[in-house]
Symmetry: C2
Subunit: 283 residues, 2 copies
Amino acid sequence: MSRPLILVSNDDGITAPGIANLVRIVRGLGAEVVVVAPDSPQSGMGHAITIGQPLRLDKSSVFGPEVEAYQCSGTPADCVKIAKHHVLKDRNPDLVVSGINHGSNASVNVLYSGTMSAAIEAAIEGLPAVGFSLGDYGHNADFSHVDEWVSQVCRHALDHGIPAGTALNVNIPKNSSRPIAGLRLCRQARAKWQEEFDTRLDPYRRPYHWLQGTFLNLDSGTDTDEWALAQNFVSVVPCQFDLTAYRGLEQLSQAWQLPLPEVNAAAEPPQPMPGEDYGPANP
Amino acid sequence: MSRPLILVSNDDGITAPGIANLVRIVRGLGAEVVVVAPDSPQSGMGHAITIGQPLRLDKSSVFGPEVEAYQCSGTPADCVKIAKHHVLKDRNPDLVVSGINHGSNASVNVLYSGTMSAAIEAAIEGLPAVGFSLGDYGHNADFSHVDEWVSQVCRHALDHGIPAGTALNVNIPKNSSRPIAGLRLCRQARAKWQEEFDTRLDPYRRPYHWLQGTFLNLDSGTDTDEWALAQNFVSVVPCQFDLTAYRGLEQLSQAWQLPLPEVNAAAEPPQPMPGEDYGPANP
């Protein structure tokens, strides 16, 4: 393709450093870039859409005069919908990228992630899409090591495509003295958040509750995104609308010529057989 | 089990007729019922969670003195988290039910559904969970035909369990002169919304945009939830965190003694092979 068209969104909002880095990197690929991103942070919005309220959409100059950009009052999924059906109309982007999220979206976090919901919404629309996240939650997260990896993934996506019906969940380790070990195709680790609520009293003596959680990786597999990130790999998980796409993993492995991780049967999510632990719950 | 404990939530808010019907039906099963539901409508919230804001949780008497009920300022997923970790603490519910949603959550709607995100959040917590939805969007939706089917599903779930790592997406056709044909295990139909934006000017001459869409079923399979609903069946789809759980369908079919739908290979979502249409996107 001559000059690819890349649509950019995110969930941290149009002024977040993560999206500024993503726009800079995809412009460096020679792409024409259109941005439609939330006008305020939308972390944890999952696949929310706006129903019963209209959306605002305003031109933005935060990326300078050469980037067509809009801020939208909706969720990340809304941004992709209004980008495709209102801003771009009949022009299909060659790639949709979302992020770079401030914080990991590996394993079960994919479900809560606005970054990934933008990518998955694009996949539902039949567009190739990638969500990028960095394992660093700070507003002042260090993005200085990400260029090579974001570029490499985008180039692969533009040159070879992405399995139909999937969006890629790409997580990049936090910057450290260890060099990034490379890209690694993974499955979504089985994990959960162990929640606790911190209950306090407001000045009017009414209680309020802060959600806080500890991340629990329940998966000892060496084929998961959590394992890859712990080894300082960039994890690449193809996600279906049925999230982890095992078949898509195989396809991507062939088309991109990246090794397929060895599936550890023992480490797979539990798939009990009738008569085994497939009995009444909480016996 | 002697007297099961059932946790109830929804996304239409604690005062919606759908949840009143659900509470009434599960009480009819002899269950002890605890409700934690949003204090306002949360339709389309997907798997959103509340980050950066605390939650309010207040006792509610909307279901009368015999039902322990709370309204929560958060999303459906938040409600399940605060129910499990704060309200119920060490008591695990025998079943989590969400709904009854005013409007279908079949096919791709599962992704946008707050009703199903409550059920999926429960499944992540290792709890058996079912989301119920009715194909009738109105606030005054007619629930007069649902009792038998909601009871039947809940009884199956309590007696035989639900495949580990899944939540059931149960959709009930709108009431009509046709009798309900029965329960039917299904896979999630491949579908999408064809969006359009209706752009208007506010009194200050600033544009705003209403999201509106037409539902497109792209799937001709007779093993899908959309097909089942069109034939006036109650559709039952086990959803993984990787949404449609084909293996869970088989397990449920055996454990509940319901026939497994015949999978039409031709009707399955596209899974192109390398070299076929697995090429660069938008060639």
